[in-house]
């Protein structure tokens, strides 16, 4: 690799003002992979492709990319593997902090913290990537698999994430987001959209997680007020892994066997999904239940439209406080849709799905469950989806076509 970079500094000096031809920077696994790959990620110029060779890169530190317009491309998610098993430092495996980056066709394994984080990285594409903690679901696994945050235009397409101790695919404090054609297994949360605006989550498979798909909003963060999220055409089945999130994290409160959970968001649409085998419930709509000190924060859910979902067996093993009692009271299983009831009719939570709905009859989001007034309910109102489709800039779609 030294050869490739010899004299690069002088090339850089000559051409700083004019765009140069995009080139491929090939990096092979083997001795010195850490420094060789990191050097390529630093010296890459906009338009360049950092090509990961076939094999296993044994890395000792986090990697990072801070050059805009760079593609990192491997030979395939089972062929080019970035292994962080021997990682000595850094909060993530790969960190991206520049715009217009494409990550594709490689795997990240066993990072000690998050696997791939992109922060303030607009127009980012994740395509055909595998993230895995190879020891199975464990509390000592890293928190997030694929972790874009504070970004505009996020496209996550055809990724596979296994074993994250928080969320497999987590999009936080971002705007304009698509998560599609991806698989999340054996994570605490399969896919989570948090404190974000305008997201389409569709054609994914979320299975064997603690909870399949979460749409959350938390207080005391720079971006909050999550809204306009569509969850559709997903297969959300058998999310049955006991919650293994470290205590203190919000997902530690997600009951095992949750299909979709919406918390403290507004304008959410859940339609055309297939649900089956989720032991607690298929769809839970709840407010933020913890104490908070934030005058700008809205803890309750508003404007939810649920339609045309297929509901298989559910609610047979509820893993939340009072769950067994509720199941007993409603014929042996908890109804497939649960709403905390906060806000009443003004919350505009509507469902046209042909299944029972349990309204917990709460008046405040943080009300103790023992004081709830649960009853079967109709969530009558226009449940048809109305939100516009999320569209990415053309160049992002073109990058993976």
């Amino acid at each position: 690799m030294k050869r490739i970079f010899a004299g690069f500094a002088s090339v850089l000096a000559l051409t700083a003002a004019a765009p140069i031809l995009a080139k491929d920077l090939a990096v092979a696994p083997g001795p010195g992979a850490q420094e060789r790959l990191q050097e390529a990620l630093i010296l890459a110029q906009p338009g360049d492709v950092v090509m990961l060779g076939e094999g296993r890169f044994d890395l000792t530190d986090g990697l990072s990319l801070d050059v805009a317009g760079v593609t990192v491309k491997g030979a395939g998610p089972d062929k080019s593997v970035l292994s962080f098993k021997g990682q000595l430092a850094a909060g993530e495996g790969l960190l991206v902090t520049s715009d217009n980056v494409v990550l594709r066709d490689f795997a990240v394994e066993d990072s000690r913290g998050d696997a791939i984080k992109s922060k303030g990285a607009d127009n980012i594409v994740y395509h055909n990537i595998r993230v895995e903690w190879t020891g199975g679901p464990k509390e000592t696994n890293g928190a997030y698999g694929i972790y874009p945050v504070e970004s505009e235009n996020v496209l996550i397409d055809s990724v596979l994430v296994i074993g994250a101790s928080d969320a497999g695919i987590y999009v936080g404090q971002s705007r304009n987001i698509i998560v599609r054609d991806s698989i999340a297994r054996f994570n605490v949360a399969g896919i989570e959209i948090e404190n974000s605006f305008n997201a389409d989550v569709h054609d994914n498979v979320a299975t064997n997680n603690t909870g399949g798909i979460l749409v959350f909003d938390l207080p005391n963060l720079p971006q909050q007020g999550g809204h306009n999220v569509r969850v559709f055409d997903n297969v959300v089945v058998e999310n049955d892994t006991p919650n293994f999130a470290p205590k203190g994290n919000i997902v530690a409160s997600v009951p095992a066997g949750t299909g979709v959970m919406v918390m403290a968001n507004r304008d959410i649409e859940i339609f055309d999904n297939v649900f089956d085998g989720n032991g607690s419930s298929n769809i839970m709509i709840i407010g933020y239940r913890q104490k908070f000190d934030d005058a700008k924060y809205q803890p309750m859910v508003r404007n939810v439209r649920i339609s045309d979902n297929a509901h298989g067996k559910t609610g047979f093993a509820p893993q939340f406080a009072g769950g067994e009692m509720l199941a007993a009271a409603f014929g042996g299983s908890v109804p497939p849709i649960i709403w905390d009831g906060v806000g009443g009719a003004e919350a505009k939570v509507y469902s046209s799905d042909d299944v029972p709905v349990l309204n917990l009859g709460m008046t405040k989001s943080d009300q103790p469950i023992e004081t709830a007034q649960p009853a079967l309910a109709k969530l009558a109102g226009d449940a048809a989806p109305t939100l516009p489709k999320i569209v990415m800039p053309d160049a992002m779609e073109a990058a993976i076509r």
Partner: protein
Amino acid sequence: MKRWQGLAGVVAAALLVSALPAPAVINDSAITEAALPRKLSEFGFFAGPGATDPAPALVAYSLRTPLFSDYAEKQRFVYVPQGARVAADAEGRLTFPVGSALIKTFGYGSGAAFRPIETRVLLRRANGWEALPYVWNADLSDADLKVAGTRLPVTVTRPDGQRSEISYAVPNKNQCKECHSSAGAVVPIGPIAANMDIAPAKAAAFRKRIDWAAAPIAANGPIWNDASTGSLDQRARAYLMVNCAHCHNPTGSASNSGLFLNYGAAADRTATGLYKRPVAAGRGSGGREFAIAPGQPDQSIMIHRMGSTEPGVAMPEVGRSMVHEEGVALIREWISSLRSE
């Protein structure tokens, strides 16, 4: 004055061995031009060997409360081109003109026994600051640019005399920026007037080159481990400001965490960490519920993460492989002193 003994020793040692080569002459174009110089010697900062015999135009300074870096000794210099002036905002944060450089050498051993490992430079170029790490060669004749960073085995003697073998991490260029980042741009962290002790011989002249936005600010900020320089609260906040706030501020690398430890955020209790729940901490939470549980350091995520060396848990995320026991003790004492609700 104790802090200056080490440096004086280095200078004395340099005079003994050298007296021969001409003093270093700074190459201004290496600072300002777009290339990435491959050798530290190209800048002309030091006549050597190592980081000894600094060019006369360099101004040595130390920080009253410094960032912990595995108990490394740091020698800091600032260079401002002849005739150019420095601006200080109302808080005393210094802004340097194009052509300036901040030069920080990390090593172990004090006085004449100081052996440099690496020298990091921040170069003020026309389009902003460039951060570059240089690693010293074995005979200390020069230091090589290591944009990708590296790891070196180092034996560290702690203040209590205990010795540890560590894998010392020289940060890569991106990691330099991770800490030195504000709203996506590279910025210096250290030069805040109240926290900067400029070498006595040059302090008066250097301060005359500063244009103050408000009244001049004296170098009288708290020294984290000297109770005569500030209250426990002042010293703890100074420590967190220097060790955490470069990322944990609203425009820093940890902006998404909502945990802000910069002075400007001190009035917001939740942002400062009091009863603040984690957002993306993962196993960094250590099973604790709050960043700071007032009165309960053992229930505070901050103590858990400062006291860990595990990637994914340890804070700061880069720049240390050891626990700063004395720093943790300070923050522990401070959290204990906070009244619970």
